[in-house]
Amino acid sequence: MTSFTKPHIRRKNEPVNKLGLVRADYDGAMSTLCAGCGHDSVTASMARAFFELSIEPHRAVKVSGIGCSSKTTAYFLREAHGNNTVHGRMPSVATGAVAANSALTYIGVSGDGDSLSIGLGQFVHAMRRNVNMLYVLENNGVYGLTKGQFSASADLGSLAKRGAPNEMPPIDPVSLALSVGATFVARGFSGDREQLVPLIKAGLKHKGFGLIDVISPCVSFNDHKGSTKSYAHTYQYYHKAVHADYVAPSKDIKVCYDEGEIMPVEMHDGGVIRLRKLEKGFDPRDRAAAMSALANAQKNDEILTGLLHIDETHPDMHALNKMEDRPLNEIPYAELNPGAAKLHDLQKGFR
């Protein structure tokens, strides 16, 4: 089996973005996932977000771990470099890549197995470091690729395909992210692109680590009755707390907001995220509020979605390490080489 490339045909009057590219220019190889898999919808949303933001495909970088979810970086942005690393270790590769060249846009794709079991340590530490990337966790409550074992995100009492209940409490990536100080924390659903595409756009524009936990059902192993990560269950308990729209930098950005209805968050690139409150008294700029809203939702069996927390003020990894803007991989050797005379000087203390 080799990978296929999707046919690349342009329709008449097809919408183009600022770069003159059409949506299909953001496609990748043909997906090899099961028909109906949530991950394919997330792939489409990611491609659309890049298209709408008019990011040059080759200026993006895709990184992933191992799993059905992690495979999907091959299925969008064919003109971007991809790095399908090893199981659970994408965050470290992403950290090194971002350190080497901060001028590109980084998107990481992972699964609940990849991020919450084998990769829990790296996942948490990338958030603590505030690596400037968007991390999309395609959460289906199971290990898809190894055929349906429970993952650490499986809810208490959720039933496996053969009927056995999960008896251990879940790790909720969103609560975890809030507790370790992640600076952009959101939850979406593969079945709701209206909500997901703007979230991805906002996350890509956020300076620092952005997490989107996307409920993305596995039709082959976890979409049956009794599963809390099925399409049916998610639709039933889905609760939108807040809607986020990213507005690119422009002249008319300074429109007046009706406080209480719309909450603006200024971004590093000069753009703005407009948060539309769907829930009374909930302000995602306040981490403690986000945590309590989440706890309440859990109590009521609601799946709280939307941009749940954002903090644009916390320094990212580059700022924390006092790195200059120029990417490390562009510093000419002449600037890095201290030279022979200096080497002689440096050894004075060794004599």
């Binding site: 790095n83 890549a97 971002v98 350190a99 060249n101 790296q122 890095l336």
Partner: protein, 603 residues
């Protein structure tokens, strides 16, 4: 065993760790070095912060031998816990110096040695008020006594004290006072100097005293590395400390305070490996220093870098295993681990420095080779090289050096070519071209550790898979002539037998060989410096009837590698193995070679 003589003896200092003895002992060694007499220093320390025994051994060797000798002629016994062991180790005719504030009559059980007592504790208690000074100054007091007994140049010592405390000038007088206490006491009570002592020479001109980790960290700076990731582990930590120190000195913009480098202390070695892979994949020269336990953890990533062809530079400062082992003791026990690290058919490039000078050079070569061959490269140092100060030629640099970035396509080059395929052997040299993210839409490819064909596409086709892994093996093999060549030191007369050794064994092996030669046993000697083995290694093996393989591990790992990777028949190779964790001494090698030669009737 050899007699102590002027500029040819060993002094061993037995201390309790955490009492400030390390700097006093370093000062003694540096003073002798500055008097123009070559020294070999070995620090044997515990995996502990305070209270356990630690020894510092200084070999004074006018002839400039580079290894330990195995003798102890003069012991400064400052640790009551180890008195018995220290007493037993002293060569007949030796001198024992101890703190006789508390008399130790049992020292007199050895009539063949000379025991000298100085009441260091009492002298310091009388002279200093602060409790901490009383402990610390005992060290400087014995420095004074040793200086008197060995005829060390006091001006040199005073100058060293001034340099040592240049940032804390208040401490200078205190330390000089303590030195004088010990010095004057010795002059008054003993016949100074001892029959063996130090006489100034001019044998250290152009030399420096530096440890291998500092040299390797400096090498990474000169190689143009801009990214390093690590997880703290003895004995590799000081390598990253050195890199950080030099970057801080040399790569911070004075006006903006912004850095031209990034160092990340990772959450574990797995993450450190992933980070340097990510940075190298994205075009920044990067590296990680670690030790055996770290390599074990990094193995999955090492296989990924090998198969996906990503440059990776690892420094393994070897320590005694297995498992946590003896973290502060030295061995060469990761040779086979590193040669084939990771599951599946993997094989890597190894560089074996023998001293800090080579650590510096090989740090640079490792970065060049990793990018040229797009693969993991290991620099296999050890505690002895990494953490002891060695006397080596001053490090030098060729200002015309340019990093070898390997077959890396630029935006302009990508513009010109029709189509880019990541794993295609375009030039017939087994090395494909690589591209960096962000350079050009044509350069994009999907990096994966899963099966891929020569175009970079996913595959589960056996033929397409084999084509790639066969090329990888050929690529690896082609590096044999590019890794550092072995150093061959022929015997003065034609020899039918030889010695093969590696890394920090060098000094002891050379000395043993020379001494045996003087007694009529002629052996050629080859020190291996790189893996894959080059034609010269094959030739040396073919040219000798019997070969002694000297190395520091239990399982004859280098010998095993020779058996696997060359045509040498098993019966030709005779292992000589040292694995107690202490740096190798020539007497061990000498006796083992002599005995093996006798058994085999080699003349």
């Amino acid at each position: 065993m050899s007699e102590a003589a002027i500029n040819d003896f060993v002094i061993k200092l037995a201390n309790v760790n955490g009492t400030g003895s390390a700097s006093a002992n370093g000062l003694l060694m540096k003073a002798i070095f500055r008097m123009g007499v070559p020294v070999v220093g070995k620090n044997v320390f515990p995996s502990n912060i305070q209270g356990l025994p630690t020894w510092y051994e200084i070999r004074v060797t006018e002839k400039g031998y580079r290894g330990r000798s195995g003798d102890v002629h003069f012991i400064v016994a400052m640790n009551a816990e180890t008195y018995e062991r220290d007493l037993a180790e002293l060569s007949p005719g030796g001198v024992l110096l101890y703190d006789n504030t508390w008399p130790r009559p049992h020292f007199l059980t050895r009539p063949d040695i000379q025991v000298l007592g100085v009441p260091f504790a009492r002298l310091c208690n009388d002279a200093f008020k602060a409790a901490r000074s009383r402990i610390l100054m005992k060290n400087m007091a014995y420095v004074g006594t040793v200086a008197a007994l060995l005829n060390l140049d006091l001006d040199v010592i005073h100058q060293l004290v001034r340099e040592m405390f240049s940032t804390k000038p208040k401490l200078i007088d205190l330390n000089l006072q303590a030195i004088a206490l010990g010095y004057d006491y010795a002059k008054e009570h003993f016949d100074c100097p001892l029959p063996f002592s130090v006489q100034s020479r001019d044998n250290t001109a152009g030399k420096v005293m530096i440890d291998g980790n500092t040299a390797a960290g400096l090498g990474c700076v000169y190689a143009g590395a801009t990214f390093g990731a690590w997880y703290p582990i003895t004995p590799s930590t000081s390598l990253m400390d050195a890199f950080a120190k030099y970057c801080d000195q040399l790569r911070v913009d004075v006006d903006t305070d912004l850095h031209k480098y990034c160092i990340i202390q990772a959450e574990d070695e797995l993450a450190a490996a992933g980070m340097i892979i990510g940075a190298a994949w994205n075009g920044a020269r990067s590296f990680t220093p670690t030790s055996g336990p770290g390599i074990s953890l990094m193995s999955e990533f090492i296989g990924f870098a090998y198969y996906a062809e990503i440059p990776m530079v690892l420094f393994d400062i070897q320590r005694v295993g297995p498992s946590t082992g003896m973290p502060t003791r030295t061995q060469q026990c990761d040779i086979q681990l590193c040669a084939y690290a990771s599951h599946g058919d993997t094989r890597h490039l190894l560089l074996f420095p023998a001293d800090p000078g080579e650590c510096f050079e090989m740090a640079v070569q490792a970065h060049d080779l990793a990018e040229r061959f797009q693969t993991p490269v290991f620099v296999l140092s050890d505690i002895d090289i990494g953490m002891n100060d060695w006397m080596v030629d001053e490090l030098t640099w060729d200002d015309s050096y340019q990093p070898d970035r390997g077959k890396l396509l630029s935006t302009e080059e990508l513009e010109k070519i029709e189509k880019f395929h990541r794993y295609l052997d375009v030039d017939g040299d087994h090395i494909p071209y690589r591209t960096l993210p962000g350079t050009h839409p044509k350069g994009a490819y999907f990096t994966r550790g899963s099966g891929h064909n020569k175009f970079g596409g996913y595959t589960e086709d056996g033929q397409a898979y084999k084509e790639v892994v066969d090329r990888l093996r050929a690529k690896w093999h082609s590096a044999a002539s590019k890794v550092p060549a072995p150093v061959i030191s022929p015997s003065k007369k034609k020899a039918c037998c030889g010695i093969i050794s590696v890394g920090s064994c060098d000094g002891a092996v050379l000395e043993a060989r020379d001494r045996l030669e003087a007694e009529g046993l002629h052996l050629d000697y080859m020190r291996i410096r790189g893996f894959p083995f080059s034609d010269e290694v094959e030739q040396f093996v073919a040219d000798h009837d019997e070969i002694f393989v000297v190395e520091q591990n239990r399982d004859a790992q280098l010998m095993g590698l020779l058996l696997l990777e060359t045509d040498v028949p098993r019966e030709k190779l005779i292992p000589i193995l040292h694995y107690s964790g202490e740096p190798l001494d020539y007497q061990f090698v000498y006796s083992a070679l002599q005995e093996a030669a006798r058994v085999r009737k080699i003349a």
